[in-house]
């Protein structure tokens, strides 16, 4: 976003305000009203009486956002998985240890054990292999979220595994190591039983962590607080924190990106009410009753005819017309720009040596055709208030991408004509996104009817309401295929 590279030969206007605001928060230039100012990047801004060192709220939130995203790597994120990994490694090693220790310590005293032991060895090996593979498949995944409280099921399972393994070791230590047990076959069977128990615990883990929440039981309504975008989702039995993670997964794909510029009615429409009244008090004793004054103003404003809905309506219509016009210009400009280049095939290059054309790679081709459409693109993004999401650099990268993959102008424009899901605008930083779960109930309790919790980010929040899915009573009705018969309508009799 900081690239101010000059593309030679093309005359679109580059300026200071195009660069990212986070480095410009010292100097705040006040702009004219948003509807009339549509020159992105031009230096026709007006410095008003506000001081040059003021910071707007938007810039402040941006600064704090950057600060929090540049904190050092959190170790808390990896403690849980690390602990689980150690425990499972220990649990997997244990049966092997059970087998190996007697061999190492008192080999000579052991009773030889022939074929049955070998059978047990084979089954043990395969069971351990299955355990290993399924642990890798199920549990060795990078965690997607850190939850505010303990994940109850996972803790339960880890405690269970720990107890199992500890009690087996205890028994082993007391019964086998101490008296130096000679019956090796018994030891092998003991180790096999531990592996069986571990397999069953893994089955329990699979059911609790992965399968139980698959059957839908609740309907969540998710509403974004700033602009009312809402969606309904069906989830199964989850705790509140897990449901929050689930909702956020879907939020990044389904909700269009939050645009702070398109939120409220412009002040010019709303705030016309209170102006235009001055209250003079004709009282001799000038007591300062300001409440009386304000009440008088409110009463007078209420009596005045309120035409703000009219203005809103016409403003909306005008806005829509303007957007459509800009969109038409943009589409035409892009279509024309795309006709300037075409893909060069290998045989063409060899076949025409006498017309040496300048061969470009995608980046240069993108730069070459960007200039004719740049102005139309700027104006369109400004009118739809999306200019904060798309920098010059990102548009060029996207154009290069589209050219490389033989996309049509319409495919190139798809990204700009509709505000896409939030996922499209994420920068891949390793820090992750910070969300706060606000809830009146403890977050490890399960979902139930009437629960409301909200997920808060810095400038907006998602309010989630839980309703149970209705219980369906399905009845049955059998229709004999031969029962479809028809007659003419009965004689109708009318009395006159």
């Amino acid at each position: 976003m900081d690239n101010e590279s000059q593309y030679s030969g093309y005359s679109y206007k580059s300026s200071h305000s195009r660069s990212s605001r986070k480095h410009r928060w010292v100097r705040r230039l006040k702009r004219r009203s948003t509807y009339s100012d549509d020159n992105w990047g031009e230096t026709t801004t007006v410095v008003t009486g506000t001081s040059e060192h003021s910071i707007s709220n938007e810039d402040l939130t941006r600064v704090t956002k950057d600060l929090e995203e540049s904190t050092p790597l959190e170790c808390k994120r990896f403690i849980g998985p690390a602990l689980g990994g150690c425990l499972s490694f220990f649990a997997l090693i244990t049966p092997l240890a059970f087998l190996i220790l007697p061999q190492v310590l008192w080999r000579d005293a052991l009773k030889p054990c022939g074929t049955p032991c070998e059978g047990l060895y084979v089954s043990l090996a395969f069971k351990l292999l299955v355990l290993l593979i399924s642990s890798w498949a199920l549990f060795l995944r990078p965690p997607r979220a850190t939850l505010p409280r303990f994940f109850v099921f996972r803790c339960l399972l880890m405690v269970l595994v720990f107890l199992f393994v500890a009690s087996y070791w205890l028994f082993y230590g007391v019964r086998v190591l101490e008296p130096k047990e000679e019956d090796y076959r018994g030891i092998v069977e003991y180790a096999a039983s531990l592996v069986d128990a571990l397999l069953f615990i893994q089955y329990l883990a699979l059911v609790l962590l992965e399968v139980r929440h698959l059957q839908p039981a609740f309907c969540l309504k998710v509403v974004r607080s700033t602009d009312g975008a809402s969606k309904f989702y069906n989830v199964g039995h989850l705790s509140i924190q897990r449901a929050a993670v689930w909702v956020l997964d879907r939020y990044y794909n389904d909700f269009s990106v939050y645009n702070p510029a398109v939120v409220n009615l412009p002040k010019s429409i709303l705030s016309k009410k209170m102006t235009g009244f001055k209250v003079y008090s004709l009282d001799e004793n000038t007591t300062n009753n300001s409440t009386g004054q304000s009440r008088a103003m409110i009463a007078a404003a209420a009596r005045r005819r309120d035409n703000s809905h009219n203005e809103y309506y016409y403003e909306e219509a005008e806005m829509e017309r303007r957007i459509r016009k800009r969109k038409a210009r943009l589409v035409v400009a892009v279509e024309e720009a795309f006709t300037h280049i075409k893909r060069l095939h290998e045989d063409e290059a060899a076949a025409s040596p006498k017309h040496p054309r300048e061969v470009m790679d995608p980046r240069e081709a993108a730069q070459a055709i960007f200039a004719p459409m740049a102005r139309a693109m700027q104006k369109y993004l400004r009118t739809t208030r999306q200019q904060a999401f798309h920098s010059m650099e990102s548009i060029l990268t996207h154009l290069q991408f589209c050219i490389t993959h033989n996309m049509t102008p319409k495919a190139f424009l798809e990204r700009y004509l509709t505000p896409g899901p939030t996922m499209q605008y994420q920068q891949q930083s390793g820090r992750g996104r910070q969300w706060t779960l606000v809830s009146e109930d403890p977050v490890i309790s399960g979902l139930r009817q009437g629960l409301v919790f909200s997920l808060r980010r810095l400038d907006f929040s998602l309010v989630v309401t839980v309703t149970p899915l209705p219980f369906l009573r399905l009845g049955e009705e059998f229709i004999d295929p031969k029962s479809h018969k028809f007659v003419m309508r009965l004689q109708s009799e009318t009395s006159v």
């Binding site: 007659v487 309508r489 006159v496």
Partner: protein
């Protein structure tokens, strides 16, 4: 009372004039009709030919204007005030009978006994 399609229909008809009775807002005639080209002729209990789609009188209110004027149950209505009733839908027939501006309806009706009576009288009194 059967007809051959394409040939003119001949029947012995009786002229009946019914004065409509005013009951509040409505003018009633005191009988019910059934039949019509959009109805099922096979269900008509009064017709001889079960493919006859004409309008038949199915019920007479005792003491009403229709009974007084001489209409009988089972009569087939051929004309109402000059309007043909042999090839009309049920609703068209109803409308022709219940015009609000007409106080009197003149029907041409036919019934089986009329034919018999004519045959009888023809037989006994040969024309000269």
């Amino acid at each position: 009372m059967s007809f051959v399609p394409g040939q003119p229909v001949t029947a012995v008809v009786q002229r009946i004039e019914i004065q409509k009775l005013r009951e509040g807002e409505n003018l009633i005639l005191g009988f019910s009709i059934g039949g019509g080209i959009d109805q099922d002729p096979g269900q008509n209990p009064f017709s001889e030919d079960k493919s006859d789609k004409g309008i038949y009188v199915t019920r007479i209110t005792p003491g009403g204007p229709a009974e007084v004027a001489g209409l009988r149950i089972g009569d087939k209505i051929m004309q109402v005030n000059g309007w043909d009733m042999t090839m009309v839908t049920h609703d068209q027939a109803r409308k022709k009978l219940t015009k609000k501006r007409e106080d009197v309806v003149r029907l041409l009706i036919t019934r089986k006994s009329l034919e018999e009576a004519v045959k009888h009288s023809k037989g006994s009194h040969p024309r000269q």
